[in-house]
């Protein structure tokens, strides 16, 4: 049965990406699509090499479908193409050194290519996106209030939402829910109805490059709805691989 491989948060870490590609060749599933849900780049010296690798896959490798992430938006800000030209959010998170590192790591030519990326993907009944339709900054985790998680699904009319902003691997399900709503207007008497929801899910796809030596990503079968997480050890940090 074919699967999608869903990655996020490579953050310019070429070694981690190579480790995941190698792992994909080892998995027993046929992988028919490779998604990268943003944060392809970051304050990492190998960004340019990584982008080249992603844009020009080797023979027999899947062509990754890449969407925008938080770090891509910070690149736009630094190059005067974003909504926050002062890069206040970047400064707050990464400090002046991080700003300088990002500036040095991603060329203007690459930023121009990043500008062409989609905000997210909608395949079958699945939304694949970095944060949520609210924005790349939106962090969804198991601690996010359930009504907020459901809101992020309903905004896109999706049954499954894959996101990468938190860097965590998690799989949450909303088996059932209901709300009774009564509306009164100037011209109509109160009308009551109960709205229900069932069988929706939110998946945190992990992070390939965030933690040195340990990459996590997600495999998903759109035909069986099965989700599994993979952890790949690479470099000097550890050995082996396997599902978690």
């Amino acid at each position: 049965m074919t699967h999608w491989a869903i990655l996020s948060g490579i953050n310019g870490n070429l070694s981690a990406y190579e480790a995941v590609l190698a792992d994909l060749k080892r998995v027993r599933y046929q992988v028919e699509a490779l998604y990268i849900l943003g944060d392809l780049v970051g304050p990492h010296p190998h960004c340019e090499t990584l982008v080249h690798r992603v844009r020009q896959p080797h023979r027999g490798e899947l062509e990754p479908q890449v969407c925008l992430g938080w770090w891509e938006e910070q690149c736009f800000n630094l190059h005067g193409m974003g909504s926050d030209p002062e890069a206040t959010e970047l400064l707050k998170q990464a400090g002046p050194d991080g700003v300088e590192q990002l500036w040095k790591s991603v060329s203007r030519q690459t930023v121009q290519w990043l500008r062409s990326l989609d905000f997210g993907f909608f395949e079958f009944d699945c939304l694949l996106i970095h944060g949520s339709t609210v924005g790349c900054h939106d962090v969804l985790t198991p601690e996010t209030p359930p009504m907020q998680l459901l809101d992020r699904l309903l905004r896109a009319d999706a049954n499954t939402l894959f996101c990468g902003r938190s860097g965590l691997t998690f799989h949450l399900q909303i088996p059932a829910g209901a709300v009774t709503s009564t509306v009164t207007t100037l011209d109509a008497p109160a009308q009551t109805m109960t709205q229900t929801v069932s069988d929706r899910q939110i998946v945190g796809v992990g992070s390939v490059g965030k933690e040195p030596g340990k990459a996590t990503y997600t495999l998903y079968s759109p035909y069986t709805n099965a989700v599994s997480f993979r952890t790949v050890r690479y470099g000097n940090q550890g050995k082996g691989f396997g599902a978690i």
């Binding site: 198991p142 799989h171 209901a178 009774t180 709503s181 009164t184």
Partner: protein
């Protein structure tokens, strides 16, 4: 305690004065305003001056924001090129008309006001441009109330008043994968009734009649009263035409309709 909540005055001074007269007769203790003081209508400075004179706590609406920050909503704000042209004309006219003092006041307005278990916004807690319609998903509506931490959310922006009670909610969330940390608990059942009260529009109503609408809320009984106030809207219609604003705004005001201007997807929130 009785509070009156006004929204979307849209530079219609005659409508505002009529509503204020009605409020005077209703033993109201406090007035709140949900923004959109300007736009569409002919008297932006006069409306702002009246609100300031009465010291009415006011949050910033989308039109107020546009006058402060410039017109930078995405194209999908407009259902047609004609509607976009009209919208831009009205914006440019208002932008020329407002005094520096009016602009500074609009810039100073907060996005949200809160009093005890009541929250006041223009569109939604997330955006001045988001429409909370009576038929918006009940889950989304409930999330907007919960996001404020209040029990009752007052909003405007749609120009059609309504009261929406949200209750008996339950939502279960389970961790499927063993590696997934336990999720936060579902708010089941809700500790109290949650409610959205849309105040309608004082100066540019769209409920099918030209009368001004607003709401009176009794904080003790938690009863909301949608009020409709008749006034001589033809004065405002004449002033719209005389001052060179698009004539369709006068026609629309006289009908209480959003004819030919209804967005295809009113739930869309502009990327700004």
């Amino acid at each position: 305690m009785n509070i009156a909540v006004l929204s979307c005055i849209h530079s219609n001074l005659a409508a505002l004065e009529a509503v204020l007269r009605d409020i005077d007769q209703q033993s109201v203790d406090q007035i709140y305003c949900l923004g959109d003081l300007v736009g569409y209508g002919p008297y932006p400075n006069e409306v702002v001056a009246r609100i300031r004179e009465l010291d009415i706590p006011t949050c910033q609406g989308c039109w107020d924001e546009d006058i402060v920050d410039g017109l930078n909503a995405c194209d999908c704000s407009y259902p047609s090129l004609l509607a976009e042209t009209r919208g831009h004309l009205a914006h440019e006219w208002t932008n020329r008309e407002v005094t520096p003092e009016t602009r500074a006041y609009l810039a100073s307005l907060p996005l949200t006001l809160q009093q005890d278990n009541l929250c006041f916004v223009h569109g939604s807690p997330h955006s001045q441009h988001e429409y909370l319609l009576p038929d918006t998903s009940a889950f989304i509506a409930l999330e907007r109330v919960l996001a404020t931490g209040a029990d009752t959310l007052f909003c405007g922006h749609t120009h059609v008043p309504y009261v929406r009670n949200l209750e008996n909610s339950h939502l279960t969330l389970t961790a499927v994968h063993p590696a997934t940390p336990s999720p936060s608990h579902s708010p089941t059942p809700l500790s109290s009734l949650k409610r959205i009260i849309n105040a309608g529009s004082v100066g540019e109503p769209r409920h099918g009649r030209p009368h001004a609408t607003y709401v009176i809320y009794d904080t003790d009984s938690q009863q909301a009263q949608l009020r409709e106030v008749e006034y001589d809207y033809t004065q405002t219609c004449a002033a719209i035409r005389e001052k060179g604003l698009p004539a369709i705004f006068a026609w629309r005001l006289s009908q209480g309709l959003e004819y030919a201007e209804k967005a295809d997807d009113p739930t869309h929130v502009c990327e700004r």
